[in-house]
Symmetry: C2
Subunit: 319 residues, 2 copies
């Protein structure tokens, strides 16, 4: 978590001349996000986040991400809303980076969500899926099933240095997933990264969903599988079925899962676990000791994957 | 600029039970300060900074720093004010660090202050000196004249690797300063680090002075010399006498300099330059390539020192 691109107040002032936001009163770099530089900005008109998009975000995808947030906000979802410049654009250039100003949302992210928070998160995810149905933009899931083989190949040589048996686990799992991956599940806009960091709460109610920079079109139930992986394991690695029950129940308050989706859930959870296992493994093997960001431990998701491999049906997830 | 000590929302919640600040609504690590970890905190009651004091700040000095800010705020100076816990304490322990909650000040720090901003900064410095006169706490200047020799010795072996002639410049200068340093100038509470980062502006007016963690008792005119060094040189190294004139004029709007202070100013400016030269040089030589903070270039202050050595009297500073 870091600010990669430095912006002086004077550079901000020039950038703001394109907007109708009035005089800036507060401007502080915030230690948030691993892919972008973020500044907290307060002007006469309100509170905002100024985001500078660094290398990891494809400029070509920005209209999708920002258009999606604008659409969702218009549909009543609490998420950052891009502020348009007077010329109608949602992005501008600032210190060599594409940059956008988004509304700032009050709320805090939880490190140890309770079952009730999980239920709220499930409800919010379903709300997002429903609101996404009327969005016309599309983006392929760049970290979906078809991407995993290449990531695995890139990690193959280093995998066992991270944990014994890691390479075999991945090979075996990928073969199984490629053979059995369900293709006909209901599709739509998914968040694809709904970890507790990306859900804000005020007084134990969801006050916002943030970080849409992995959003894409994919199976809705896969997004639920990502969220189960992200919210329902304890720090000691144990699966918390009470939280899973709460999360899926919250989801189904708004959007009922089909029998196909339920049947696929164990496999989707394995897929979601290997997706985060692979990206973390890649970042771990290729980490730069001088980098500002410490890579996350990939082994956590190897344990989650092993858990999901023991599951025979969706009942284990409280369904 | 970094957050060194991680605080989860749940850890914050426990810490806040000792305070009457109501429910927290926003909690974000901010990329500010090189010695401490800082979080932006918004609760029902207002906006605050939560500071965790890291190694560089002596715990024994915290009552001085926090007491000073409380005193100055009571005297009408816009500076962060410590919030007392219900038990009356201004610090508590959080994740193994001493921690304090201070009021948050609106305002932005300038990278390229104009002469008018310099005049404002001078005025604010004099206001701080005046308000400090009734403060009873005391703290020696740990980075004053007597500390420079040891710093120079610690840097001696590495100095010339940073710039040719650096070691000789320092040795020669220290001998001169030790021989001629004025001992009888008016003393008081000084900020001792009033760089543009530490002065906040809203609509071109000073809205706050921050970062009192070098404050101490020393010659008031030495603080003006620090501030001249910090505000009146251009990025290309040139001294801007218009800014110096504005700064000293601003100062004297509130507090007239004595003839002794004026006469000492060139020497005090040399002292202030070598103080920052030495600490930067030390940090540069002892830098850790994996650290989150990039050290500042010490050579900038070698240039400033060389400039001050050419000055014969305070008129050169616009006095």
């Amino acid at each position: 978590m870091a600010v990669y691109t430095d912006v002086s107040f004077e550079e901000l002032e020039v950038f703001l001349t394109a907007y109708d936001l009035g005089e800036p009163h507060v401007f502080k770099g915030i230690a948030e996000g691993v892919s972008n530089s973020n500044y907290y900005l307060q002007t006469e008109k309100g509170a905002y986040i100024l985001t500078l998009y660094e290398m990891r975000v494809e400029a070509a995808d920005l209209p999708f991400y920002l258009g999606l947030m604008e659409h969702l906000a218009g549909a009543g979802i609490r998420c950052p809303t891009p502020v348009r410049a007077r010329n109608g654009e949602v992005t501008g250039l600032l210190n060599g980076r594409h940059a956008a100003i988004l509304t700032f949302l009050d709320g805090v992210s939880l490190r140890r969500p309770t079952a009730e928070h999980c239920q709220q998160a499930g409800l919010a995810l379903a709300g997002l899926h429903k609101a996404g149905q009327s969005f016309t933009g599309t983006r392929k899931n760049a970290l979906g099933l078809v991407s995993w083989r290449k990531l695995a190949d890139d990690c193959a040589a280093g995998a066992d240095s991270v944990a014994d048996g890691m390479r075999a686990l991945i090979d075996e799992e990928l073969a199984a997933l490629e053979a059995a991956w369900p293709a006909a599940l209901p599709q739509g806009i998914i968040h694809a990264d709904l970890f507790p960091d990306n859900v804000l709460f005020v007084n134990d109610r969801v006050s916002g969903i943030i970080d849409f920079y992995f959003a894409c079109n994919d199976a809705l139930a896969y997004d639920l599988a990502v969220t189960l992986n992200a919210w329902c394991f304890e720090p000691d690695g144990a699966f918390n079925v009470t939280k899973a029950r709460a999360l899926t129940a919250g989801y189904q308050q708004k959007l009922a899962l089909s029998s196909d989706e339920k049947a696929a859930l164990p496999l989707l959870c394995r897929g979601a676990a290997i997706r985060f296992l692979l990206t973390r493994l890649y970042d771990w093997i290729n980490r730069n000791p001088a980098a500002l960001v410490r890579p996350k431990d990939p082994r956590e998701f190897a344990r989650r994957l092993r858990f999901h491999r023991t599951i025979k049906n969706a009942e284990a997830y409280g369904l």
